[in-house]
Amino acid sequence: MTQIPIQGTGPAVGRTSSRYWRSKSAYLGVLPFLLFSGLFLLYPTWNVISGAFQDESGKFGTKVLVEVFNSSSARAGFRNSLEISAQTAIAGSILGGLFAWAMVSGKQGGFFYRYSVALSSVLAQFGGVMLTFAFLATFGFNGLVSTFAIKYAPGSFLAESSWLYGKAGIAVLYTFFQIPLMVLVFLPTLENMKPQWREASDALGGKTYEYWLRVGIPILTPSFAGAALLLFVNSFSAYATAATLINLSDFLTPLAIATALTSEVGGANPAEAKSLSAYMIIVVIIAMSGYALLRRKVSKWEQRR
């Protein structure tokens, strides 16, 4: 019942159009996502990039880009952003990296370890607004540390809270969420360090510092640097914290962008916002490319095993 012997008859169905379209129909499956991301992701990206090349009246050209480039306030804001990002990236990566090491060198899977991972996951997402309030509760007026300082160290900067609103304050604030982020990003790399390497080094006669100098640090550096770049981008893009804390409109580039977009006094200048954004994108892409390259290097090493 299964077969009727066929002697080479039957239509030898060629490459009909129906077969062809059948195979292309799979592309329809990505259509919904494409439309959705086109609307909410690609459109705004295009809007910003193309808008950066327009001026207030919509004419094309690099007029606004040049203006922004030459504006001293924009430059100052940019410099601040870059400085703070670099500082917090370094501080965060060192502190976070060391903490991650402290976690790994203890009991993996133990209570301290798991609780640290959980806390890091949550703190890394701790929004800017809440973070600011946390620090105000600590260092601000009537805060924990400031009231303590008023009593015991009345002359110090901790006794009053103005420092919080300046560069130093922002840096300290940002570092707060850089540390958990570093832990989360760097921890997997540390976990991949094989104890056999240390043992091999010992067996070959190496001392502790030699191991770290020749083996440990070189292996960890690309990953570490990559994580630091990620932290840099994170800090550079941050807006919520600064916006909650400061009212100076262009102390940092994200703030300048917001002002340019929504300023009630003096009129909004979307073109300026877009140009500033374009410069931001450039910085971010450079940093992320660096990150990508470093990650690729690390995964190549991991593959060879």
Binding site: M1, Q3, P11, V13
Partner: protein, 341 residues
């Protein structure tokens, strides 16, 4: 299956393959990797599109039917059990999809029946990762059979398993197949597997069917040089063909269909068709002897320098060890002769 053709870019995976399978038959597709056997199987399952060709099952043209409507049972090489379901759930899956036809109780009964059939009823509530490779494949088989498929398709189901499990499981597959009478297509690159359990074996190469026949016929009367050499061992010995026979090793034997008909050729002689007797005035010397239990394999140097491998029952090989002079001749069985090149 008729005139199945499929290209993958420049590579022709299937080249006009045509094949009929009778009801209840187990046909094995055998061939080296890349010969297209898996492609043909997957085409039949509906998982592979063809450039050309026609497939008819039970009188119906299924060529354009989508895979989930063809009613075939398929067993994959590995990793096909749903990891988040127990063995029983896996087996019941196909039945659940046809829920409108079977009630919950009937499903349970059926899945139990099949688990019994493959001998794993005690493991019904285990998860795939708790089962060994052989057990997993048996569950996969039960799952495929649960839906009473018209055709059972097996894509190298044993390749990922240990040798011992392989032998056991193939016997079981055959036993179950005979018991249920399911039409089956079995793809493998292992000739022992194919020959031991199939009703007919189709040898494939480069997308085409070289020969399809019952195992013994394939072995004794290969239709092409490739089949002769792929299935079983052969000794290539040169000789001259004329009038349908060839003279080799002081013997004259008939030549099989498909061989060259006249002139110089290379005969492909099976080891067990070579007769070896101890003889002081022989035409050869034993180079080495391997004792294989029931039979003995002798590596023999002919006086003209060629080396052949002969296989004898051990009782006939007594006294034939390295250095023994022997006389070598051919048993009167037809042989396949291929051209010199």
């Amino acid at each position: 299956m008729n005139n199945l053709t499929k290209h993958f870019g420049k590579v022709k995976a299937l080249d006009g393959l045509s094949l009929d399978i009778a009801e209840g038959e187990l046909v094995a597709l055998l061939g080296p990797s890349g010969c297209g056997k898996t492609t043909a199987l997957r085409a039949l399952a509906g998982l592979q599109e063809l450039d050309r060709g026609l497939m008819i099952v039970d009188g119906k043209d299924v060529t354009f039917q989508s895979a989930n409507k063809r009613g075939m049972g398929m067993v994959f090489q590995a990793y096909s059990l749903f990891p988040h379901m127990t063995a029983r759930d896996n087996v019941e899956y196909g039945l659940k999809l046809r829920a409108h036809r079977t009630s919950g109780d009937k499903r349970k009964a059926r899945s139990f029946e099949l688990l019994e059939l493959v001998g794993l009823s005690t493991h019904a509530n285990h998860y795939p990762h708790q089962l060994s490779g052989g057990q997993q494949q048996r569950i996969a088989l039960a799952r495929a059979l649960a839906i009473s498929p018209k055709v059972l398709l097996l894509d190298e189901p044993l390749s990922a398993l240990d040798a011992k499990v392989r032998t056991q499981l193939r016997e079981e597959i055959r036993r179950i197949q005979l018991e249920l009478g399911t039409t089956t297509l079995f793809v493998t690159h292992d000739q022992e597997e194919a020959l031991s359990i199939a009703d007919r074996v189709g040898v494939m190469r480069n997308g085409q069917l070289e020969q399809i026949a019952a195992p013994d016929e394939l072995y004794d009367r290969p239709g092409t040089a490739f089949v002769a050499e792929f299935v079983g061992l052969t000794n290539p010995i040169s000789g001259v063909v004329s009038k349908g026979t060839i003279e080799l090793l002081d013997s004259t034997v008939k030549v099989l269909k498909g061989s060259i008909t006249i002139g110089q050729g290379v005969a492909l002689v099976r080891p067990e068709n070579i007769e070896v007797v101890a003889s002081q005035s022989g035409n050869a010397t034993v180079f080495s002897a391997s004792f294989l239990g029931a039979s003995c394999r002798l590596s023999i140097n002919l006086n003209d320098g060629t080396r052949v491998t002969a296989q004898l029952p051990s009782s006939d090989a007594v006294g034939l060890s390295a250095g023994a002079p022997v006389k070598v001749s051919l048993l009167d069985r037809p042989v396949f002769v291929k051209p010199i090149i």
